[in-house]
């Protein structure tokens, strides 16, 4: 990406320049996003039902947990890390799903993938006494994958293939069906209902180093797979025929990228519960910042997703002090209007 690109870029003007942001613009946005990310992460450690001083933060970062303030900070650090990780995972997962399906409405929540993962976990907890955290992650990922495959197949049946609206409808219908099954499983089981209900809202409040360690491997694998398929996604964006003509193995690329997205989504659901709309909003925002090239889009989606989810978590801690609002609630309240805005646009352009 050094001299080669710049010589290619030099003669392009007009339409191409709109799609391909100059490197300076991208670098600028990268700096801005990184700055915001650091700021938000700091805020997440500083802000909460109890205000803490700088000295306490510094001390707690050094590992000390003396006194209320430092203990509070020590609790907030893993929570912040979890929010960053899951936000990044959801952002990338959404961006890849939008790329794979070429659908601006794609999102782990809207396509029903999160609900599928939830159903798997809830069934495992209720009927099979599933306890080990690693099992939960595996079950979540496998059921997320099954749901994703199902929704895609259903959405692409019939005339016109997987058009944005058809796919979104198939996902929403599947999601509604699965969530009614979830509540049917949970309701009669008073022993697990309380814990499961708060998990189903989606929050990072329970984040510990342990919970991070359990999903870290999966998240890293997911990130790597997604980033490696960035080039393939760029070809897919040209349409299946053209991509095949360019030497892309369309089915393989689509499959690999989808697996990456599903792993990311399933692992996040397993640890935080389903958090909606991050995967929808973030890629759209990033496309405005850096254009449609997935090699830039995916890393940006990770950064912006991390910043967004952490910010939403901080917001949830601030608005209802001393109580907390789970981050899943905040993202739904912020993200759903954006979804409606997208739906209202006259024509839903395929990506």
């Amino acid at each position: 990406m050094s001299t080669g690109t710049s010589t290619v870029e030099a003669p392009t003007t007009g339409g191409a320049a709109v799609l391909r942001r100059p490197r300076r613009v991208r670098a600028l946005w990268l700096a801005v996003v990184l700055l915001v990310l650091v700021g938000v992460a700091l805020a997440s450690v500083l802000v909460g039902s109890r205000d803490v001083a700088w000295a306490d933060v510094v001390a707690a970062l050094g590992g000390s947990t003396d006194g209320f303030e430092e203990a509070a900070v020590a609790k907030r650090i893993p929570r912040t890390l979890l929010a960053l990780l899951v936000g990044a995972a959801l952002g990338v997962s959404g961006a890849v799903m939008q790329g794979v399906t070429r659908n601006p409405l794609a999102d782990p929540g809207i396509l029903g993938v999160s609900t599928g993962a939830s159903l798997g976990v809830v069934v495992g907890l209720a009927f099979f006494g599933m306890a080990a955290a690693s099992t939960v992650v595996w079950v979540a990922i496998v059921s997320a994958g099954l749901t994703a495959a199902f929704v895609y197949v259903v959405g692409s049946l019939g005339r016109g293939g997987a058009t944005p609206l058809k796919l979104a409808l198939a996902g929403a219908a599947t999601s509604a069906a699965l969530s009614s099954l979830v509540s049917a499983v949970v309701l009669p089981r008073n022993d697990i209902a309380g814990g499961v209900r708060s998990w189903l809202v989606g929050g990072v409040g329970g984040g510990t180093y342990d919970s991070i360690r359990q999903v870290l491997v999966f998240l890293v694998v997911g990130f790597v797979v997604c980033l490696l398929s960035a080039r393939g996604l760029n070809s897919l964006a040209l349409g299946d025929e053209l991509a095949a003509g360019l030497g892309e193995r369309v089915a393989l690329t689509r499959g690999t990228a989808a697996v990456g997205a599903v792993v990311l989504c399933g692992a996040s659901v397993a640890v935080t519960g389903p958090i909606g709309f991050v995967g929808l909003v973030v890629p759209h925002a990033c496309r405005l910042l850096v254009g449609v090239d997935h090699r830039w889009l995916l890393p940006f989606a990770a950064l912006v997703g991390a910043a967004l989810l952490t910010a939403a978590d901080v917001l949830g801690r601030v608005v209802a002090r001393p109580a907390e609002i789970d981050v899943g609630i905040i993202t739904a309240l912020v993200g759903a209007p954006f979804f409606i805005y997208l739906v209202r646009r006259r024509k839903l352009r395929e990506l």
């Binding site: 049946l157 019939g158 009669p188 209900r197 309240l333």
Partner: protein, 353 residues
Amino acid sequence: MTGLLTTRDAAPSTVEAVRGGRTRRSARRRVVVAVLATVVVVGFCVSLVFGQTTYPPADVLRVVLGQEVPGASFTVGTLRLPRAVLAVAAGLCFGLAGVTFQTMLRNPLASPDVIGISSGASAAAAFAIVVLQLGPTAVSVVAITAGLAVSLVVYALSSKGGVAGTRLILVGIGIAAMLDSLTAYVLSQAAEWDLQVAMRWLTGSLNGARWEQVVPVLLALVVLGPLLLLQTRDLAATQLGDDTASALGVQVERNRLLLIVTAVGLICFATAAAGPVAFVAFLAGPIAARLVGPGSSLLVPAALVGAVLVLVGDFAGQFLLGARYPVGVVTGVLGAPYLVYLIVRTNRAGGSL
């Protein structure tokens, strides 16, 4: 000359064919309606007679007629009768309202429990129970108002040079997501006892149905039901598409608003009494369409199917499944696979209902 002659010869046979088809279809519809009505009546009687203790039909009849029968008066008169009446009334409301939406928007997914109306009523009810600590009647009023308001918001947000069915569904799903998250937040703040009340309500349950809850639903059914049935012809015309309908003399926008308000009214009153019994509004229409066949109004058959679903679901949830489940869980589990099947079929065939 010859051409004229052939048309003249063909004319009676075409007329006969059309007439024959029409007679056959309306006969089928009459049979279906009669069978469904019988099933509702039988189900109603069964749920009065059978239960933890079974009373002879003669005793039950005497209780229903207002006589005192030791034992049976309480069990049948106070517990089972309002419950069964509520099941039938709520089922009729759900079925009517659901099929109205599905027909009007030409999409089976456009049922009130998918497009956010039930979510609106639920969120408002949860808020009223947990935060405002209101009693049952006030909760119902709040739920009804909120359901109406949400449906108008969804309608307004999805109208953009005419309301497209798909857009309305997706807007409704977005609104539903917001409202559901509000409900989740309210529930997470709830005290243990309020949580029990709210959860019972949110699941859709006929447990502990009392006459005070049943009467408003009956009133809504008596007032709004006929109003809806009067629109049958216009509703059938809207099914042909907005342009065709307005060419046929239907005032599309006004008619649609009237239908929405009436249907939402029915849904909200039923929801206020029984909670959002999952998927009844959604299932009734497609099942009725399958039974009746194409070309005739689905309002009455769908209403009856709704009543059957709630009655059977409630009875099965109480006595047939081992543990006692609220009716909403039973219909939810039944409805989920059907919902998936329906989206598969709609996508493959492009069918509307």
